[in-house]
């Protein structure tokens, strides 16, 4: 089993994920057309009570809502904390008020967001008091504290007035005129985008008085993270026990009032076991009772589930996958060479490296099914470019573009290129297919195979390394919006000297300008259309080789009424119950 970081999609998942958020995706997963039949939506008459066991190979990285950023962490964090907005499990496209009392009010100039929070939400013991808007203000401010070190705060909340210099202290642009109102004043028109980010756990309230009395944020790492049992919880559950890398237990939050929450919270308790061998744990879940997986099951287990235990497995779309081509460096600074590389790619073989059709749909562009703007970008068929027309690859089209790029023979005749790939399956297999595709086109490739973390932190995320091809990258948006999908990965302004996720280093002024326009749209329909157009432009400029819209498999015991949170493609512990 593997854990997925929000943002970049992990490589080693046996069958991994497409992003978000929509009905088309959902229907396939829910109805089992991808090989699974498990009913994973909320149903009438779900039973209350009992304890669920969750098994995962990976442990939790950060359970502090201020620093939490992994899919695995989110499964727990969203059961014990209440951000301003969150998603009902079956609808990943439309956030609903959680701690907030109503939808966010975005000003006409797109520079102010106002949120009313609901009354009656109380912290768990020992804090016990009612949540106020000041707690939300403090929660976001502490995200800028280096001891908390939230990874996305500067990206999504950096436009708040005073946030550019924030180190954890008060931010002038976050104002709380009364106990139930919070106002965000921005330095630029970014309010519609920032409102989307209020679904992230950073907006879950944190009591400043409690943190300061315990001096939890004064150490690095924060005590709120290293010992999550000390947290002040607002969700239906509390973290009762935690042993890093070993186990975690959830119990009911005695101060949680169901009248203030849309979550049913059927289970009395959850015990989470970390470190399970994926093959053994998968069999235990399928043959045992009261169990679900916490991270992606092993490939043999997925195969077993998809063939013999279809009523216990489901597939949920989440994220995209592609091969990045460095548009800053020759030969991929030539759009025709990029188009040739795409045309030569056998995307069916790429899909097979991850398990075939159950792994997900073959991608024709970057926004995945269900993402706002997917249909506007061409839907499943894509924008209609000839270099993406044949999923098996088309060497004639590839030769045509190479000739246009000055390679008269139709085969690439330039110097060797550098490619980096994962050394663990299934990404390792995808790298081999990419290598072969490039060789078929005449490329001489210097290929280096390293661990997944090394692929990113040492090579592909560091432009100075001058890697020309990253064999298998992917993206999981932080929230369902074209901005979260495409801005970090294809906007020239997002290119960073390290930790760079615009792996193709794509910097097209027209596309950048289109993104600025799309980002400024405040109406959902117009916004989706604008981002769809951006996606179409990126695809037509052959910024990378899209090959998959991922599916995430999940398995459950027969006596579990599992409910998948489709925005996270994992079990929603606040909705899952026992039969």
């Amino acid at each position: 089993m593997t854990t997925r970081l929000r943002g970049a999609v992990a490589s080693t998942a046996s069958v991994v994920a497409c992003a978000s958020i929509l009905a088309a995706c959902g229907s396939s997963s829910q109805n089992g057309s991808a090989g699974g039949n498990a009913e994973t939506k909320p149903v009438a008459g779900q039973k209350k009570g009992g304890a669920l066991k969750v098994q995962s190979a990976e442990g939790f990285a950060h359970l502090d809502p201020g620093s939490s950023y992994f899919q695995l962490d989110y499964e727990v964090v969203y059961a014990v904390h209440r951000p301003l907005y969150s998603f009902k499990p079956e609808d990943p496209a439309n956030p609903v008020p959680d701690l907030a009392a109503a939808a966010p009010q975005v000003s006409a100039d797109d520079k102010t967001v106002t949120v009313k929070i609901r009354s009656g939400v109380r912290y768990s013991p020992p804090v016990d008091r009612e949540v106020t808007s000041a707690d939300v203000k403090y929660a976001i401010e502490r995200g800028f504290n280096p001891n908390v070190a939230n990874g996305y705060a500067p990206s999504y909340f950096g436009a708040i007035e005073g946030a550019d210099k924030a180190k954890g202290g008060p931010i002038s642009g976050i104002q709380t005129p009364d106990d139930t109102t919070i106002v965000f004043k921005l330095t630029k028109p970014f309010a519609a985008t920032m409102a989307g980010a209020l679904t992230l756990p950073l907006s879950a309230p944190v009591p400043k008085d409690y943190i300061e009395s315990k001096k939890l944020d004064e150490k690095s790492p924060s005590g709120y993270d290293s010992d999550p049992t000390k947290q002040a919880f607002t969700g239906p559950y509390v973290i009762a026990k935690y042993a890093a890398g070993k186990s975690l237990s959830l119990a009911r939050n005695s101060n949680w009032d169901p009248k203030t929450d849309y979550r049913p919270a059927y289970l009395d308790a959850v015990t989470w076991t970390v470190g399970a061998d994926p093959n053994v744990a998968g069999r235990q879940i399928l043959t045992g009772t009261h169990q679900v997986n916490g991270d992606t099951p092993a490939a043999p287990i997925v195969k077993l589930g998809a063939t013999k235990r279809k009523d216990q497995i489901s597939f949920t779309p989440l994220g995209n996958r592609y091969v990045s081509l460095n548009t800053k460096l020759a030969p991929f600074d030539d759009v025709n060479v990029r188009k040739a590389a795409i045309a030569a790619t056998d995307r069916v073989a790429m899909q097979l490296t991850r398990g075939g059709p159950i792994a997900g749909q073959i991608a024709t562009h970057f926004l995945a099914p269900g993402a706002p703007g997917f249909e506007e970008a061409g839907g499943a068929k894509g924008p209609g470019a000839d270099f993406l027309a044949n999923p098996r690859g088309d060497m004639k089209v590839a030769a045509k573009y190479l000739k246009l790029a000055g390679h008269a023979s139709g085969k690439f005749s330039g110097p060797p290129i550098t490619m980096i790939g994962d050394n663990a399956d299934p990404a390792a297999k995808a790298a081999q297919v990419t290598l072969q595709n490039l060789k078929n086109l005449g490329f001489k490739v210097k290929f280096r195979s390293v661990s997944h973390e090394t692929v990113h932190t040492k090579y592909c995320d560091v432009p100075a390394q001058k890697v020309q091809v990253c064999a298998d990258v992917g993206w999981l948006p932080d929230f369902p919006d074209g901005y979260a999908w495409l801005y970090p990965t294809f906007n020239g302004a997002a290119i960073q000297p390290e930790n760079n996720v615009n792996w193709s280093q794509f910097n097209d002024p027209k596309v950048n300008a289109a993104m600025d326009r799309a980002q400024a749209e405040t109406q959902p329909a117009a916004r989706a259309k604008a981002w769809g157009e951006v996606d179409r432009m990126i695809t037509e400029q052959a910024a990378a080789i899209p090959f998959l819209w991922d599916n995430v498999p999940n398995i459950q015991s027969k006596d579990v009424q599992g409910v998948i949170a489709r925005w996270n493609a994992a079990y929603d512990l606040s909705f899952t119950s026992l039969k």
């Binding site: 970081l5 929000r6 943002g7 970049a8 098994q55 990976e58 442990g59 939790f60 990285a61 950060h62 950023y69 280096p146 001891n147 070190a149 939230n150 990874g151 996305y152 500067p154 990206s155 950096g158 690095s220 790492p221 924060s222 993270d225 290293s226 042993a243 890093a244 890398g245 070993k246 186990s247 076991t273 470190g275 399970a276 061998d277 093959n279 053994v280 744990a281 069999r283 235990q284 043959t287 045992g288 390293v450 661990s451 973390e453 090394t454 990113h456 932190t457 040492k458 995320d461 932080d478 970090p488 960073q496 000297p497 390290e498 930790n499 996720v501």
Partner: protein
């Protein structure tokens, strides 16, 4: 003897220093992941990554990082915090040590209880059917990878997924202090799996040594003196033949206390080995360093114990 032990302890400290330095060097010289960017997350700005790097001390020269690390270890027995999950390394190691100790202790008892008698009997019944069967079986046990054997044993005998549900399966480990009965039950399969190859190896080793020893002149002399055969074998033969076994035993115990990675992984026993495995997966240097130092300590300490035991086993060995 006291001077000898003092000298060995001093060498042990030097060796641990060398091991820790080499671990540091390997981590930084091989293309491993950058902990600061892993900690920061995918959309983090370079400024945030730099802040984290500074907070973790990763921006300092490697020798400074090493010096600060060793200072904390020596003065405060503080191994730092995990980059991966923010938990203190010392606490994680201490939490997991009982599981590894339980696994190792039980496996050692089993492999000695099986391996030594089989080795002696095989040597005494050389080339007979029982010898050939025992040595054949030992070859199979040595050849079977622990990971494979673990999975097979679970699929056959685990109470949850086994064909013949007899023993508690993976993930059933309970600390001895919580429930002695469940502790014992949960470790039966892991003990048997871990002990299998060791028992086989010890049986073959002791058999070979004993065969050689029983041909020595002093054995003939002992028999000529009219000593009972049982006394000849146990007091003269086995006592001499077992010294290499003790050497290997010391090393094996040390290595296993550093973590029986595969066994812990298959049976989901939260021990030192699994901690080390997870740390390597995530380039979690403080945890890697902590587990390597613990493993090295146990190996060196076990060696010291073995050398001291030698003096009691073999009258010819004297330490100045």
């Amino acid at each position: 003897m006291a001077r000898y032990i003092a000298r060995r302890v001093a060498w042990m400290v030097v060796l641990l220093l060398v091991v820790s330095a080499v671990t540091f060097l390997i981590f930084y010289s091989l293309p491993s992941a950058d902990p600061a960017t892993l900690r920061a997350g995918r959309t983090a700005s370079p400024q945030l990554v730099q802040q984290i790097r500074e907070h973790l001390g990763l921006d300092r020269p490697i020798y400074t990082q090493y010096w600060l690390y060793m200072k904390q270890v020596v003065l405060h027995f503080d191994f730092g915090f995990s980059y991966q999950n923010s938990a203190p390394v010392r606490q994680q190691i201490v939490d997991r040590l009982p599981a590894t100790l339980s696994l190792t202790a039980g496996a050692v008892v089993i492999w000695l209880a099986v391996g030594l008698p089989v080795g002696i009997l095989s040597a005494l019944r050389r080339r007979r059917l029982s010898d050939r069967l025992a040595m054949g079986a030992s070859l199979v046990a040595i050849s079977a990878p622990v990971y494979w054997l673990g999975l097979i044993s679970l699929y056959l005998f685990a109470s949850d997924i086994g064909r013949f549900p007899v023993f508690p399966g993976a993930g059933s480990y309970r600390p001895l202090t919580d429930d002695p009965g469940k502790w014992l039950g949960s470790l039966v399969l892991p003990w048997l799996v871990l002990a299998a190859s060791f028992a086989a190896f010890y049986a073959r080793l002791l058999r070979a040594n004993l065969l050689e020893t029983m041909g020595e002149d002093y054995i003939r002399t002992a028999r000529a003196k009219g000593l009972p055969e049982r006394q000849v074998v146990l007091n003269h033969g086995v006592r001499a033949a077992i010294t290499p076994v003790v050497t290997v035993l010391g090393l094996d115990i040390g290595i296993l206390l550093g973590g029986a990675i595969l066994t812990e992984r298959v049976f989901n026993i939260p021990g030192i080995g699994r901690l080390a495995y997870d740390a390597i997966q995530h380039s979690d240097l403080p945890v890697i360093q902590g587990t390597v130092l613990f493993g090295a300590f146990f190996i060196v300490f076990a060696n010291l114990v073995v050398d001291v035991v030698y003096a009691f086993l073999d009258p010819r060995v004297r330490y100045a």
